[in-house]
């Protein structure tokens, strides 16, 4: 039986969990769809330079106006979504998988394997991640591909640590011991017992981390290291727009607002998911 304990009233008013869950999912879902459908939705070619129509106000032809090179802002935002979101998924997905693999090996096998892998992770984590990424990009040279690889190389250690912790906690539980006594192979234990039980925290962390991945790409592009012009990407757009901050602040505001909304949505989604999964505890 669940014994619900009371919490301070203020938090209750702020967290209408279900509404947030649905709201954020819908928003993000639509955004992803828009990104996928960019070639059909975008009214213009995002790379088409036309100095005659530069820095225009929103109009029917150009719904959000144009930038300093006469390119349609809306189209650039849509195509930018593909880069920001798409590559965020790529980076996040691959570093998560690497982290899962390494973390599981470390957590499940333990012993010197664990020590070796974790000391390596400690070394990487000793550097602030952004500095490390900057350093790697400095070695590889600027460019989108290089940024992606750099981000992947840096991110997986955090996931490895996290999965290692989760696996180690699970490993101690008696149902894992019972599974071994029942004759299950290690692979079967991982598939049937460990993975399904890591899924909830994975989902929660995943949503929060996606926000970070987007942030990282945008940040790199803003610094001029990721997507180079004429590439369309939100961070790069902010970078280009900063020279026009006094006359046409919207060049920075539109992409900036989008970045903020997306990251906030992912965070809120993550928080409401974590509340949802966290509450499934039984007390007698």
């Amino acid at each position: 039986m669940n014994v619900p304990l009371g919490r301070p009233r203020l938090l209750d008013r702020l967290s209408n969990q279900r509404l947030i869950l649905i709201g954020c999912s819908v928003f993000l879902g639509l955004l992803f769809l828009a990104a996928l459908a960019a070639p059909w939705l975008a009214p213009h070619d995002p790379y088409l330079v036309n100095l005659a129509v530069k820095l225009q106000e929103p109009s029917w032809t150009y719904p959000l106006g144009t930038d300093h090179l006469g390119r349609c802002t809306l189209s650039r935002l849509l195509y930018g979504a593909r880069v920001s979101l798409g590559f965020a998924v790529l980076i996040f997905g691959s570093s998560l998988l690497i982290g899962l693999l390494i973390g599981t090996l470390a957590g499940y096998i333990g012993g010197w394997v664990d020590q070796l892998l974790m000391r390596f992770c400690d070394g990487v984590m000793a550097f602030p991640s952004l500095i490390l990424v900057l350093g790697l990009v400095g070695i590889f040279g600027p460019g989108l591909k290089q940024v992606i690889v750099a981000l992947m190389l840096v991110q997986w250690v955090y996931y490895a640590r996290m999965f290692r912790g989760l696996i180690m906690t699970l490993k101690e539980k008696n149902f894992i011991a019972a599974a071994r006594v029942n004759g299950s192979s290690h692979w079967k234990i991982f598939r049937t017992h460990l993975l399904p039980n890591i899924l909830p925290p994975l989902l929660v962390i995943g949503t929060l981390e996606m926000g970070w991945a987007i942030m990282d790409i945008s940040a790199m592009s803003f610094l001029g290291l990721g997507v180079q012009s004429p590439g369309a990407e939100w961070g790069a757009m902010i970078h280009e727009g900063k020279s026009y901050i006094r006359t046409n602040p919207e060049l920075m505001i539109y992409p900036g607002l989008l970045i903020m909304l997306v990251i906030a949505s992912f965070n809120l989604l993550g928080e409401s998911l974590s509340e949802r999964f966290g509450v499934t505890k039984q007390t007698k």
Partner: protein
């Protein structure tokens, strides 16, 4: 004997109308141990949380009176309640590990609680904590104050909880299955110190347990609970020798006592 805590017609139900506790009434006098016995899920824990008004009022409706020293707790504000909890009614829970925050030392948590209820300096709080730990025979109290919860065993943590109760000198102590998570050796120790607190400070204790042996050892008066109702209330000897409700008789039989007689 004037009751220190008087529960009158306490009813607890979920907002969907599902009843959890139905119209129960009982009282505790100073220095008295009232045992609350029943199977898991009968409403014992919900009752104890209700006494401290710790239930989520969005999901649970609670009615009735809970009179502590002439004040009805149901009428108090959150702020006042916070002073009552710990200071006048202390709570010892089943799993001692979950009563403590894992990232602060025992000393930090004890002193923080003491200083929340009584204005005193850090040094005074520390001295009181050390004294209290000595009263429950935990030796090397300084070492214990510096330790983290996970470094102590369940039995030791329960004694620390009792020590905290000693520090705050509450009028009422609610112990919810305090010995269930412990082995037999530690069980006896914890009960021994509960009795010591009672005898020294005249604390009224509501002792909740599913184990009739705990009740037999400690209680003066017994409440038998089933499905949210108190089906029988009696003096402990009367209950064990002449139970009137069939459910009580069933519990006693399973405990090893033939109704009306005594099995060694």
């Amino acid at each position: 004997m004037k009751p220190v805590l008087s529960v009158e017609h306490l009813t607890i139900e979920t907002t969907n109308g599902q009843p959890l506790v139905r119209d129960i009434s009982f009282s505790l006098a100073a220095g008295q141990i009232v045992g609350l016995v029943g199977e898991s899920g009968c409403g014992k824990t919900v009752t104890s949380l209700a006494l401290l008004r710790l239930l989520d009022e969005k999901v649970i409706r609670q009615s009735g009176r809970i009179v502590l020293d002439a004040t009805d707790l149901m009428t108090l504000s959150d702020r006042t309640l916070r002073r009552v909890r710990g200071g006048q009614i202390a709570f010892i829970m089943q799993n001692p590990m979950s009563a403590f925050t894992p990232v602060y030392t025992i000393g930090h948590q004890l002193m923080e609680t003491i200083r929340t209820h009584d204005r005193c300096s850090k040094r005074e709080a520390k001295n009181r904590a050390v004294e209290a730990l000595r009263e429950v025979n935990l030796d090397q109290p300084d070492r214990i104050l510096k330790a983290y919860p996970f470094e102590l065993s369940g039995g030791m943590l329960q004694r620390v909880m009792i020590a905290l109760a000693v520090c705050l000198r509450p009028h009422v102590l609610i112990a919810d299955e305090p010995t269930t998570a412990l082995d037999v050796y530690n069980q006896k120790l914890v009960l021994y110190y509960l009795e010591k607190v009672r005898a020294t400070y005249d604390t009224a204790i509501l002792l909740i347990s599913h184990d009739l042996s705990v009740i037999a050892e400690m209680a003066d008066h017994v409440l038998v609970m089933r499905d949210g109702e108190i089906v029988e209330q009696a003096d402990v000897f009367d209950l064990f020798d002449q139970p009137s409700h069939p459910y009580t008789r069933q519990l006693l039989t399973q405990h090893g006592i033939q109704a009306g007689g005594m099995k060694a």
